[in-house]
Structure formats: structure tokens, C-alpha cells
């Protein structure tokens, strides 16, 4: 019985996503009809075509890809460096601890408080609607997370291994690059994915700091929602395009994702 209940729960849970994908494939007439059609007579990609032709889907998609890839890469790189410093360079210990707590506490910072001055400063620096400005601003979200995650991943690597490298004369930087990084590959992948997820789906910063050249997918999606009657078809298609890559990656790399999400909250 509990099994049946859980299956139903999972089905209900999947329904919003299912409905979005279904709507994106329906014809207009099947969307704006009562009662709603669960099994449309025909499906097609016309809303996707419209997105490409009339809504600049591709520029938004490319912009999202650039910003996400760059941001996740920078956050993971700097986060790994910092985490190595905090975990393996034990001098001075108390400073390390305070720094770690400080980084963790940054996750509480409301983005809106940073955004208002950013809008002003980026304006002065001509960084509004530039990839550089957007990527720079996007460090805000993934870097504290990346430092925190990598700290936990790196501290799970036995100290004897890194110490052995040191004894053989490797510098800390060489140790990190040649010894730690290969061992921490799953951790790096997890950090990269979770960082990418934060940036790919972010809307508030993008709505203010990007412009016609650099607008990302969430900006495109939110742009559909006027106060007038909504055009659900293209909106659902844009939502599907936004969700699909992330969900695919998440499902494929499920083991890593679950490890990353539970990291720090579940002690071995």
C-alpha cells in the first residue's frame, strides 16, 4: 500500500514538469481549450520554432551557456585553491576556522543587497550587458558553495598522501595539481555541477545586469509573463529548454549530485 501511495506521490510530483513539456508540444488550439486536453490529437515543435524565429532563443541560450561555463569554472578553480589552503595549510589554524565560518555565513547574504550597488558600479564601469560584468557578478553565488564543498571533499583525502608528496619535494601547488586534483575528481565534478546549476537558473542578477546582448534564458522566460493573457506554448517550450540539460545531467550524474547535496549535512 505504501508503495502505491509513493508511486502516486511521485506521479503528482512529476506532474508540473510533465504538463510543461506537454504544453510545449501542443497546438495553440489544444492549449486554450476547456476542458484541458491531456491527450492532444497532434503534437509538434511549432512553439520551439517560434522561439528560434521570433524570440531570439539562440542568443539567450548561448549567453546562458557562456556565463554558466565560465562562472562554474572560475568558482570551482578558486574554490579548490581556497579549500586546499584552508584544509592543508594549517597555519594559522584559528584563522582558517574563522575564514571557513565566514565563507559559510556568506551564503546567508541577500543577493538583492549586493545587486543594488552592483547596478550602480557596473554602470560606471561600463560592465552592464557585458559577459565580463555578468560572470564577475555571478561569482557571488557559487564561490562560497564551492569553497565549502571542496573543503569537505579535500579533507577526506588522507593527509599521508599529500605529506608524502611534500616529502618528495613537491610544492603545495604541485601537490594540489598532480596529487589532489586527480583524487578529487568526483568532488570537482559535483562542485562544478552544483555551481553551474546556481548560475544557469539565476534570474535576479541577470534581469538587471544583462541586456539585449547578454540576456540569459531565465530572462527570456520571465519576459513572457506580462499582465495580459499569457502565451503558454512558447513559454512552456522555453521552460523545457531551460530544464532539459540540467535535469539530464543531474539524472546521469545522480550519484555525484546526491553526494554533493548531502555533503556536510551527513557525516560518515
Amino acid at each position: 500500500v505504501i508503495g502505491a501511495i509513493l508511486i502516486i506521490f511521485a506521479a503528482v510530483y512529476l506532474f508540473p514538469t510533465f504538463w510543461m513539456v506537454l504544453t510545449s508540444l501542443k497546438k495553440r488550439a489544444d492549449i486554450f481549450t476547456w476542458p484541458p486536453t491531456f491527450l492532444p490529437s497532434s503534437i509538434g515543435l511549432q512553439h520551439y520554432v517560434e522561439l528560434v524565429q521570433n524570440r531570439d532563443l539562440l542568443p539567450h541560450l548561448i549567453s546562458s551557456l557562456i556565463v554558466t561555463a565560465a562562472g562554474a569554472l572560475i568558482a570551482t578553480t578558486l574554490g579548490t585553491l581556497a579549500a586546499y589552503g584552508l584544509v592543508r595549510l594549517r597555519w594559522p589554524r584559528e584563522l582558517n576556522r574563522q575564514l571557513s565560518l565566514w565563507v559559510l555565513s556568506l551564503r546567508m547574504m541577500p543577493p538583492i543587497s549586493a545587486l543594488i550597488p552592483m547596478v550602480i558600479l557596473w554602470g560606471h564601469l561600463h560592465l552592464v550587458d557585458s559577459y565580463l560584468g555578468l560572470i564577475l557578478a555571478y561569482i557571488f553565488f557559487p564561490l562560497p558553495l564551492a569553497i565549502w564543498l571542496m573543503q569537505i571533499f579535500l579533507s577526506s583525502i588522507p593527509e599521508e598522501i599529500t605529506e608524502a608528496a611534500q616529502v618528495e619535494g613537491a610544492s603545495h601547488f604541485q601537490t594540489l595539481l598532480r596529487v589532489v586534483v586527480p583524487l578529487a575528481r568526483p568532488g570537482l565534478a559535483t562542485t562544478m555541477l552544483l555551481s553551474a546549476n546556481l548560475i544557469w537558473n539565476e534570474f535576479l542578477f541577470a534581469s538587471q545586469l544583462s541586456g539585449s546582448k547578454t540576456a540569459t534564458l531565465p530572462v527570456l522566460i520571465a519576459g513572457f509573463l506580462g499582465d495580459r493573457a499569457m502565451d503558454w506554448g512558447p513559454l512552456a517550450a522555453a521552460g523545457t529548454i531551460s530544464v532539459l540539460p540540467m535535469v539530464l545531467i543531474a539524472v546521469i550524474a545522480q550519484r555525484h549530485i546526491v553526494a554533493g547535496l548531502t555533503l556536510g549535512a551527513v557525516k560518515d
Binding site: M108, P117, N201
Partner: protein, 301 residues
């Protein structure tokens, strides 16, 4: 007598210095960026909050006048109250559903776990603007599928007072319950089976086993999950923008949305900055207290 000591101390100090420099090389870039992107804007906001600064023009120094204005403004208190309601309802529901589900799945259905976990991963990787717009589509007064299921055609919950806030909560709960579930399930799987078994043999009921044997062993996971969710739920924005736009009236304007309106739509930069700082101080105190409490009992870092 002092001479040899200071000489022998010198190289040690030097090596300490170079160690410090090395430390800086690793930690420095990240800390520098965080200072530039997080802390500097915060300082800038504080300066802005002391000025009468409207429509892009920095007018005159008003000290804490903007703060007083906020405290006198009923909209400020409303936004605070909305934030509180949304946070408590969202995190509360996410916790209860996530924990209940994790306990059920952990106890009964090892075989179904991968299926359910996969289904629950989807919302976590969905953009909040997509969550908001999908829920808006599901709840469309004219053609919404939920209007059909519940036979309420013509009713617009996203534009009706007590319901609008609940739709925002529903979006957040849909998205984030899986986070709680995944953490709790992993924590529960780490609990040794024999402790439960022992409690059962001793005659503990199902509830007693859960409450006094299972939950204490995953207390750390519960605390961390609640803390992480709390920090995020206090700043809901995207779902509100796409689902209710703060309406009807201001009934779904939380603090973040109110600051956004004030500073980025109406360009009262000074007032928005003051509101921001009030929010930052409240969050810092709140999270600071929680950190201290938690850190005393469990080591967070």
C-alpha cells in the same frame, strides 16, 4: 643572553612569513573576489543608505533618516511579515514532508528508492522562474489544469489574497522538499539497523523508535538542512516575480521583492539601501545565533 635567542628566532619568523605568503596565494584570490563582490557592495550600500539618493541622483546626507523612514513605513513591516510567513510555511512544510517521506522510503521500499530519488531531483534543477511560470500556467483561471481538477474555473488563486501567498509557498515547497528528502534519506541510511532492531525488541512502538532512536541519530543532518533552507527561504524572489508579482496589492511582497521595487523599479536608492541593511543585520543576527548554538553542539567546519 638575549642575542642568540633572537638570532635563532629570525629564520623561524621568516619561514612563517613565507608560509603566510603561500597561504595567501591559495586562499587569497577567492577571499579577494568575495570581498569585492559581496563585502564591498555591502559597504557601498551602507554609504548609500545614509544619503537621500533618488532617481540616480545623490542629493544630501540624511544620517539614519532613511532607516527611520523604513521603520515608519507600514509597507516595510508588511514585507517583513510576508517574509516571515513565507519562510516559516515553506521551510516547515518542506521539513515535515521531506522527513516523513524519507522515513517511509527508508523503512519500506529500498527497491523504489532510485525511482523516487530521480523523480525528486527534477525540481532541484529547475529554474525558480520556470517553477513560478509553470505553477501560474497550472493555476490559470481560464485554462488551468488545476482549475479543471478542482472544478474551480474562473478562480485565480495567484491574484486572491490569502491564496496568493500559499501559491508562492507551494512553488517553493515543490522545488525544495526534495533537498530535505535527499539529505534525510542519506542520513537515515547511515543509522545502523541494529539500534532500531534493539529498540523494537525492547517493545518500543513505531513512533517511539522513530522519535527516540532514529531522529536523535540524524539530528545533525536535520539542523544543517534546516539552516541551509532557512538561509535561502528568507530571500525568495524569482517565484514571486513570475507567479504573483507581489500582488494582489502587496500581499506577497517579501523583503527582497520590496527592496527590488524600492531600489530598482522606483529608484529610491537610499531607502532601498537602508532596507537592505536592516535585512542584512537581521539575517546576520539570526544566522549568527543559530551558528553559535549549532556550532557548540556539532562542529560545522
Amino acid at each position: 643572553v638575549g642575542e642568540p635567542v633572537s638570532v635563532s628566532r629570525l629564520p623561524r619568523n621568516l619561514s612563517r612569513l613565507s608560509k603566510g605568503a603561500e597561504h595567501l596565494l591559495f586562499v587569497g584570490p577567492a577571499v579577494f573576489l568575495l570581498l569585492a563582490i559581496v563585502i564591498f557592495p555591502l559597504v557601498y550600500t551602507f554609504v548609500a543608505s545614509l544619503y537621500n539618493w533618488d532617481l540616480g541622483q545623490m542629493l544630501d546626507f540624511v544620517g539614519f533618516g532613511n532607516y527611520l523612514n523604513q521603520f515608519r513605513d507600514p509597507n516595510f513591516w508588511l514585507a517583513m511579515f510576508v517574509t516571515l510567513q513565507m519562510t516559516v510555511l515553506s521551510v516547515g512544510l518542506e521539513f515535515v514532508i521531506g522527513l516523513g517521506l524519507a522515513i517511509l522510503v527508508n523503512r519500506e521500499l529500498r527497491a523504489l528508492q532510485p525511482v523516487i530519488r530521480t523523480a525528486l531531483l527534477i525540481p532541484l534543477f529547475t529554474a525558480p522562474v520556470v517553477v513560478g511560470s509553470t505553477f501560474r500556467m497550472l493555476l490559470d483561471p481560464q485554462f488551468g489544469v488545476l482549475q479543471f481538477v478542482f472544478n474551480i474555473r474562473g478562480f485565480a488563486p495567484t491574484a486572491t489574497d490569502p491564496f496568493a501567498l500559499l501559491t508562492v509557498v507551494a512553488g517553493d515547497v515543490w522545488q525544495w522538499t526534495p533537498f530535505m528528502f535527499i539529505i534525510f534519506l542519506a542520513a537515515l541510511q547511515g543509522v545502523p539497523r541494529d539500534t532500531i532492531e534493539a529498540a523494537r525488541v525492547d517493545g518500543a512502538s513505531g513512533w517511539q523508535q522513530t522519535r527516540f532512536v532514529l531522529l536523535p541519530q540524524i539530528a545533525y543532518a536535520i539542523v544543517v538542512a534546516l539552516l541551509l533552507r532557512l538561509m535561502d527561504a528568507l530571500k525568495i524572489f524569482d517565484v514571486i516575480v513570475t507567479l504573483t508579482r507581489g500582488g494582489p496589492g502587496r500581499s506577497t511582497e517579501d523583503a527582497t521583492f520590496a527592496i527590488y521595487r524600492l531600489g530598482l523599479e522606483n529608484f529610491y536608492t537610499g531607502d532601498a539601501a537602508a532596507f537592505s541593511w536592516i535585512l542584512v543585520v537581521i539575517l546576520s543576527v539570526l544566522v549568527g545565533i543559530l551558528f553559535r548554538q549549532i556550532h557548540g553542539r556539532y562542529k560545522l567546519v
